[in-house]
Symmetry: C2
Subunit: 342 residues, 2 copies
Amino acid sequence: MQCPAPKFEFDVITLAHGSGGLLTNKLLESGVFDLLKNDVLDQHHDGAFLPAGGNIAFSTDSFVISPVFFPGGNIGELSVNGTVNDVAMCGAIPEYLSLAFIIEEGLKMTEFWDILLGVKFAAEKAGVKIVTGDTKVVEKGKGDRIFVNTSGLGRLHPAAAIDMQNIQAGDKIIISDNIATHGIAILSVRQGLAFETSIESDTRSLNHLTIPLLDTFGKDIHLFRDPTRGGVAATLNEIVQERNVGIVLEDNIPVDPQVSAACEILGLDPLYTANEGVFMAFVKADIAGEVVRMLRQHTDARNATVIGTVVEEHKGKVLIHNAMGGRRVVHMPVGEQLPRIC
Amino acid sequence: MQCPAPKFEFDVITLAHGSGGLLTNKLLESGVFDLLKNDVLDQHHDGAFLPAGGNIAFSTDSFVISPVFFPGGNIGELSVNGTVNDVAMCGAIPEYLSLAFIIEEGLKMTEFWDILLGVKFAAEKAGVKIVTGDTKVVEKGKGDRIFVNTSGLGRLHPAAAIDMQNIQAGDKIIISDNIATHGIAILSVRQGLAFETSIESDTRSLNHLTIPLLDTFGKDIHLFRDPTRGGVAATLNEIVQERNVGIVLEDNIPVDPQVSAACEILGLDPLYTANEGVFMAFVKADIAGEVVRMLRQHTDARNATVIGTVVEEHKGKVLIHNAMGGRRVVHMPVGEQLPRIC
């Protein structure tokens, strides 16, 4: 094997390397992508477009959220919704999921059952089938109750032309609903940080929103992305860097007032907080209003809003207008705001 | 959600529930399969045949082996080979894999790199592409260095008619190579059980063996199975129970002399010991000799042997001839002979 280890910038993997931020990028770019290079993986997308059969999207995600049960859902629902959404973000119609458990010895069967119910409920709601699975058990202290991996397959939507390369200056960026809800819901139940709130995770499948948009607007939708780990800030920074454009955000990004208040108390910026039930669409400017109107008809997207614009200027940077009329840079998050948020 | 928990026979998940033996069956049959019921999952096969696109096999496996590095390989190679083999056992041609890591904080990057090399090496050897991935990191003490999930996709071989239902009395059972090697290699390095030996895991991909067999013998090959967790005993017991036939094994199952000696010292039965690099083929009786001859031409199957026959009698039971001319029942393993063997 002729692959000497590259010179790494770090010796040890830390929680921040799983955060979805700068350090995750560094980990992947430090050799992982080079080492496993092939034309499909080179797309650097959350899901894989497979040339075989022409039109299949394939995506995988492991879920290590803590706690396993949280306001608004459990790891079972999250695991289905997360992968369904990764497939949906490819412009595909999610159809089949695999389901693999790594269980820490001692998990109560009633808890396992509740997690399975979460899987079932979410799969039915998303219209996908669980078609294959695996179960492993590790000793007490070698895991953390339960980890779940789902991999998903979907047929590419015939009208979809989702591709980072299609993004151009002038494109409008739409967010489908309030941001930061999932992250704050999880934080609200974390040991030592619990506070009184009725905030629930927004974990949900998004394919029932993306498919009608593709039906109606086809190739005028240039990109879908769900801002999970690292939040809106990480996702947009990835895009400006890869596409070498700039983004200007308005000061109108929808946040639930309770979530906003919690962010303020905790000193968190909603832009950096994880989401599970919202997506961003980059669309041709002249359809943006119609897309928002269509989304708002659905209860899962009633706060859909145009939040920004792709620009030629300040390439590689995301700027946001603030209330005083100024602008500040929204940086790529470096590490983990909230570990194990999904 | 109208799914009250069924009455479970156990309250807590133990290591034995991940053993691939009777308790794994009980766990899956205690409601998991019923709960997630659909026509594809109902095949109860390690991989899923997907009707969409006609001819795709889809399989998932999580790998939690301890230690992560072992004689003959590491968790990276194992993770690729394991899923490649699951897809191959479906009678399919493995093509694409997903790759998802759950890393315990503190894993050394050089170790991670070696694992990635294992992935790369095994993927190249098997002729599959890693097309999508995911990385999560958990806190120290919440995992065990690294867990890996791979999910695999393959095109069904056009001549394949692999189906448990095709097994019939008279079919010959062929093993492709020596058994018990992987299990004993792992055991030899487990803390407290180390002993002097040069036994190496037989982890390897099997698609370069199964595909030529399908090319040549097509539908006369009724079933492929790789006897991983629970060994030959668990795999054959699953088959006799599901198909309601009997099996008689000869006293000629190939085991490397070193492995055999180690089994004796440790009080282990090779029939119950995990394998990673061998498979069993159930074939029409009149091609058995030819199949063995063809397999033996390959270095990965030079000990291929007909080890038994499917019979009408003693349905649901696996019997084995012993050296004294008697026969004993080979039972389904109840729990875990070796935890975390894959």
